[in-house]
Structures are given as structure tokens and as C-alpha cells.
Symmetry: C2
Subunit: 453 residues, 2 copies
């Protein structure tokens, strides 16, 4: 494959000059040498740690006061949003899921995401019946990743109960549900798809949707290095219910009842006490923070500074896809902290440290554990998943190494990604995905059908 010539190559230790990355046929960096030439400023591709692909199609459709709330915003919350989401999900089958996911993955790639963890719970037909091929919806996502060139971690979701009390799934939730044996069978089926382009992991929907015994059974049955993701502590109501039913806050309960380690990704983990902050950080698990979705849903702010001080690992996810941009996630992760603390430059790691460099280093460090892929830092043996910044853009005028990442993250609104490579293959060039127009046309037709009155 063609080598990647970097006039500047970003690494967590700083920028290197004049590096040539040789890419092997398997898409990994075979060797790196000092070589002049080129003008590309190259940074690692970003891992998107949390995605519900189908929700891309409802972005902008739930930004109105629900009639049920009677004008009182105190009644308009995550839980009313979830009702809208359930109604929308009920229209989506494998064809439309594929069309939506292709559009989403094109947008991710153009924004600089080179891999995505798909937290996939839309398993069955809208009426709740299992498809003849149980993995039909999973395969729609795998096909979308293959067709667009993004690296995928498919996380089929185990979803069993409608609440901490163990109640049955509601009619709308039935298409999400599995018994443990059927779930493990789905994992077995999907193992055949596993390779360099796709890794399979486990997703526990949440503590309220997975009883303790089922969680233990699944964790005992899966291969030892398989990634495990779980929604946790996103909502205050969820924390309160967990305390009432299981006698502990959700993160504390999980730390006490599972061998949480580097294989684990805790999604959101918004509402933490000090012991939980220390507990996650000490476990080696990654927190997947989803700033734009957590803002859209009014979840709250992750305790970033305390968690960084504890040495915790973290990454970002675009989750509901109201935004599809690592820039907006990282910018507002930092800004949320500033608004709360009434201070600036919260995430920066020390005197003179750039916020952008610190944030990018955090995201890169967690990518391999959270995705299960050899992605993240651009080092020999890792996949050549890389972004070339659009250094010709006005936002980079008068560029210096010291502020390049800050300018990417904290400067204006144009997309500053020029080219994107996944496994050394240039899937985005000049800011455009190679199949942008065809995929957008199919997405448009699908949306027209989904939203017909």
C-alpha cells in the first residue's frame, strides 16, 4: 500500500517531523522512517466509543415540547425523549438501518472518526418477532461499516428487563430483548464476522435491563479479551432506583459485582460520587463520555477534572448523533467543565499544556481497549487509521505545532479534516467520502419513506 508521508506526525509526546509510515497489506503500520517531503499534518483517527446508528435519523425530530408535558419543562426529560425514540425505532428494518448507518458512517469518517463502537439493541422485527436469521440487523450494520470503510466494534446489546424490579419488557421494548442462551448464540453467530474490520464485543444495556445472574452468566461465557460495554449512571432517577433496589449506586454496585478491568467501557457514568470516580479510574476501565447527547438529553456533566486527577481512562461517543464530530464532543466536554467551575483550561494536564493536546491524548490512549482493535496511536503494528488536517484552511493560518490541536478543536465551525485513512485506505479525500453522494441519495429516499405522514 502507499506509505503515509507526514510533514508533521502527532504523537502523545508531541509532534514528530518528516515521518514516513509504511503500511502493510493488512492495513497496519509496518515500519516508520524519517523521510522528508509532503506537507501533511497527520493525527491519529478518532475512535467513536458509543453509537446507536438508527438514532441518526431522528436528529432534530425531538426538539419540541411534548404535548404530554403540558408546557412544563420539568416534565420534559430523557424519559419523554425515550418514548419518541421508541416510536421512531418501530419503523426501522434492516434495509433502512443499512441506509441510515451508511450515511452516519460517511459523516463520521468525514469528521475524523475512523472506528465506531455500535451499541446495537434493535435486534428483532418491529413486532418483536425474531428474524429468520437472528443476526439480520447486526449484519445490516456490519455491511454499512464494510460499504463505507469505517472500522467497527459491534456490540450486540443484552436487554432483558424493563426495570430494576425485573419487570417484563414493554411491547415497544420487545424487539430489543434476548434470553441469555439466545444472546450467547447471537455472539457465536457473529464470531464468524470477526476480523480486522469488525470486532465483536458484549454490551449490557444497563443494570436496570440485565439481572445480576444473567450478567454473571454472560461474563463467564465470553472469551477473556472481549470488550464489555455498559450504559451506567446516565440519569439521577436510575441512580436512585439502583440504590433502592440493589442497595448501592450503580457504578459502585458494578465494581462490587463484576471484575471490571481494562476490557470494560462504562458509557456516560455521569453521576458519580468520589469513591466511584476513584474506583473506575483504578479499575483500568474506560468511560465513554458523550457530551453532545448528554447535553441534548439534559443528563448532566461528567466530573472530568477529578477523574483525570485519579488517572482515569476515557474516550468520546456521538451516541444519539445529534452531532457527529469529535470537535464538538471535545470542545463541549471542556466547555461544560468551564461553565460549571467558572474557570478556563480545565482538562489541560499542567503548566503550559494545551487543552487540545491533552484531550486528544486521552482519546487516543483509550481507543485500543475500548474498541478491541489495534487502533489509536500511529505506531508500528497498529492500524494506519489516520486523519490529515486541512492545514490550508483559514482556521490554521500562521500555524504552529504548539497550537495546532487547539485550533482544530477550539476554532470555528468548518470541518478541518482533509483526508481520512482507515487501514491505510484513503476513504475521505479533500473532505469528501468517496461515496458521499450515492449514500446521501439512498439515505434521502429512506428518510422520505420513514417520515411520510
Amino acid at each position: 500500500m502507499n506509505p503515509i508521508d507526514a510533514s508533521r506526525l502527532w504523537t502523545p509526546a508531541g509532534w514528530q517531523r518528516d515521518r514516513r509510515l509504511h503500511v502493510a497489506t493488512d492495513g497496519r503500520i509496518g515500519s516508520t522512517e524519517h523521510a522528508g517531503g509532503g506537507e501533511a499534518w497527520v493525527v491519529p483517527g478518532i475512535a467513536n466509543l458509543h453509537s446507536h446508528a438508527f438514532q441518526r435519523a431522528m436528529a432534530g425530530l425531538a426538539e419540541r415540547r411534548g404535548d404530554a408535558t403540558h408546557g412544563d419543562p420539568a416534565n420534559d426529560s430523557f424519559w419523554t425523549w425515550r418514548e419518541t425514540m421508541y416510536r421512531f425505532a418501530a419503523r426501522i428494518g434492516p434495509e433502512s438501518l443499512h441506509a441510515i448507518a451508511c450515511q452516519l458512517y460517511v459523516e463520521m469518517l468525514e469528521a475524523g472518526y475512523t472506528s465506531v463502537c455500535e451499541f446495537h439493541y434493535l435486534h428483532h422485527a418491529p413486532d418483536g418477532q425474531t428474524y429468520a436469521e437472528a443476526a439480520t440487523m447486526s449484519h445490516a450494520l456490519i455491511a454499512a461499516a464494510r460499504d463505507t470503510g469505517i472500522r467497527l466494534t459491534l456490540l450486540p446489546v443484552l436487554y432483558m428487563t424493563g426495570g430494576f424490579d425485573g419487570r417484563e419488557l414493554s411491547p415497544r421494548q420487545r424487539r430489543f430483548g434476548h434470553r441469555v442462551d439466545a444472546y450467547l448464540h447471537l455472539l457465536d453467530t457473529l464470531a464468524e464476522d470477526s476480523g480486522d474490520a469488525v470486532r465483536i464485543g458484549v454490551a449490557l444495556h444497563s443494570l436496570r435491563a440485565v439481572p445480576p445472574r444473567a450478567m454473571a452468566e454472560v461474563l463467564a461465557a465470553i472469551p477473556p479479551a472481549m470488550p464489555v460495554h455498559v450504559h451506567i449512571a446516565e440519569q439521577v432517577a436510575e441512580v436512585d432506583e439502583c440504590v433502592a433496589v440493589r442497595g448501592a449506586r450503580p457504578v459502585q454496585w458494578l465494581l462490587d459485582n463484576a471484575a471490571v478491568d481494562w476490557r470494560w467501557t462504562l458509557v456516560h457514568a455521569t453521576h458519580l460520587d468520589d469513591a466511584e470516580v476513584q474506583g473506575i479510574a483504578g479499575s483500568g476501565a474506560t468511560v465513554a463520555i458523550c457530551p453532545t447527547t448528554e447535553a441534548n438529553l439534559g443528563d448532566g456533566l461528567f466530573p472530568l477534572r477529578a477523574y483525570l486527577d485519579a488517572g482515569g481512562a476515557w474516550g468520546i461517543g456521538s451516541d444519539s448523533h445529534v452531532s457527529v464530530s469529535p470537535v464538538e464532543e471535545l470542545r463541549w466536554l471542556e466547555y461544560g467543565q468551564r461553565l460549571q467551575a467558572r474557570q478556563r483550561n480545565i482538562a489541560a494536564s499542567g503548566d503550559g499544556a494545551s487543552v487540545g493536546d491533552t484531550l486528544l491524548a486521552g482519546v487516543i490512549a483509550s481507543a485500543q481497549h475500548a474498541t478491541g482493535h489495534a487502533t489509536g496511536a500511529l505506531v508500528d503494528g497498529a492500524f494506519a487509521d489516520a486523519v490529515v488536517l486541512d492545514t490550508g484552511a483559514p482556521a490554521f493560518a500562521g500555524l504552529h505545532e504548539r497550537d495546532a490541536i487547539d485550533r482544530w478543536v477550539f476554532n470555528g465551525n468548518r470541518n478541518l479534516v482533509r483526508d481520512v485513512l482507515v487501514g491505510g485506505v484513503r476513504v475521505v479525500e479533500g473532505g469528501r467520502h468517496r461515496d458521499r453522494d450515492a449514500i446521501a441519495a439512498r439515505f434521502g429516499a429512506t428518510m422520505g419513506e420513514l417520515l411520510r405522514d
Copy 2:
């Protein structure tokens, strides 16, 4: 001039179908008729109520922990940012200001801003000496507005003291300063530039920079309908100092000591008590909220819901230009409220109301008072300042009137502005300003000089 054919025309009362806007030679809408044809979804251009143009050039350059803060974020604040800004401002003269402002105004127009209020305090030479032509820097901004086609409200800033105690300006602040007579003379000089493209207003930098007697003198001397803008209550330290020295919180002091009415725009007004919320709303003044800058600087969150309930007028400003997008301002104005309240859809005006429509209606309603121009709603007699949405973009797939503005504001990261007209002249077409490349090239050269080590 060519008429504007709107398949859909957004008005605060809802979308109208098949409207033809006839534009007179002075750029105003002469008449509107029902006429078929066209596919354009037309919304009013957005007024940007607060801009310090030169700060566009330092976006991304202050996102690092200051050495002086010794790694303690509690020491990194608005006030350390201000030191960086002062050092940067010291390099900027009329040529570079013109180049930077042209780039900024191109970005504003491409984002859907059709007018801008320039809160301009960089009056004198870097050494503090008055230019031979005292209005040299003001004229650089007027030229940039003319050269790019944006409608300008130039607000020369009165800046006299370095604090509430009346201390002299520091050496770095001297180029901002005027005595009252020289300031009024500058206003007189600039009156010659006033017309349909440019309106002149007054800016009082802040209560800490303008002694009470000087404020009263200026307000007594200016024409009765001239806009008056003032920075107020952005920082807690400023509120505390005002209470200590003047015996009242800044907004309360202003309401008690000036005839605050619809001519007034209060910039930020972040830190308000209940009486101040009611006081501003009852006065008819506009609050210019600057969500991205207020987040970048860690200022805090404006009490939006209480202010809307009180019937207050408000608009948005991009201020320091870390972001240049009405979408990011409006999206995060709403999101900040959601994060604080842990609820959704805060700004929506009632049952079933769209957040996007409510926010857009707010911005449109304040435009004329705050800018002094007949801009805002697209009605007969108002300027034909309009935006055509890029309804062919994937973000609008399956579009309905009910969610069009929500999709513009709350859906993804691509610029969804296709064409922009100012006074009926199409200055942006297909997302690109007519002089984008030439202006970017000149900006790039200017930045190279400004940032040379």
C-alpha cells in the same frame, strides 16, 4: 433587483408557502405576493449582536494552561485570558484589522449572519497614540463590512478607567481610551459614514471602565434613537466589585442610573438576581447572549427560562469568535440550560412548540432594536436580509415544516446555509462567499506576519 422566490418563507407565526419578495433598489422589501415556483426555504438573516473582530485571529491560541497559573485551574480564568488578548491586540493595526475582519465577516455571512454589531475598542495605535485620522481603525471595520457585504452597526467603545475605583488605564489599555469630548468627536466623525449599510451606535465598555458622570454626559449628547450597548455582569468578580464600590449589582445600578429602554443592548448579563431579570425584561432592552464565548471563558449560564417567562428580549453574539455560527450559539444556549436543569426543551414556548422555532423567533424579534437597522423579520419595508437553507443536505432529508428549524439548529455539523442575501444581493451562493478565496489568502498572509515568532 431580482425578487426572492420562496417555496417556504419562515415567519414568527409559521411557514408561509409560495411567496415572492420584491426587492426595491434600496435593498428593502417593496412588496410581497403569492407566487408559485422555486424550491427555496427562506429564513430571515441572523443579526450578530456582539463582535470584537480582531479576536477572530486569536481563536485557538489561548486554550492552554497559563504558566502563571502553576497548573491550578482555579487560577486560570477570564482575567488570564484577557492578558493574552491584550498582548495579541498590541500587534494589530488598520491593515491587519481589515484583513481579519474581512475573513470574519465572510465566515459570518456563510453561517447565516447578515448583520453585525461591532463593539470596537481598538481605537489607537499600539503605542497608545491617536492616529492622525482618529477614526482610522473604525474605518478599517467599515471597509471590511463594505468589502464583504455584511450590514454593520459600528459601536465605538468608550473606555476610560481601569476599574470601579477610577484608576487610570494600564499601558496595554491605553489604546482603547478616550476622554468624553474626544469620544463624542469620534461619533461626529463617524456620522458621515452612517446610512443603510452602516449605522453608528454607542458602546459603553462596562461600568468599571466608564465613570457615572461620563456615562451621563454621553447619553445626554447622543441622538435619541441611537443604539447603546454595554458589557455587563459577565463575571462574578465584576458583580462583587460593583456592589462594593457603587452599592448595587451592576444591572441594578444601571437600571437605577440610566433610562434603559429598547435602544439598549446589555451584553452577557450572565449574573442576575430575580429583580434584575424582571428589570431588564420590563425595560424593553435586549440581552446579547454569547454562549460559545461565555463557555470558552467560563463565565456561567444566562438565566434563560426565567428571562423568557418575564417576556425579555434577547439575541446572540459570537463575541470572541471561537465559533462563528448561529447554530452553535443557539444549540448551546439551549443545551446549557438543559445541563443545568436536567430537563429537555427549555426554551420552547409551550405545548408542542419547537425549540428551534422559539429561538429563531427570539433572535428575529430583537434584531431591529439592537442593530438600529430595519432588519429581522422579512416584511415589507424591511431589508431583504435572508438565508436560503440547504434543503438538499442529508440533515434535511424527509423535511417537514414543523421540524425544519430544529433540524437546522440541532442536527449535525455541516453548514446548512446555501445562499445568503443582504439587501437582496446574493453575497453567498452554494455555501461560498463570492470573494472567499481572495479574502482567505490575504488573511493567511496577515496571520503569518502576526504570529511570526
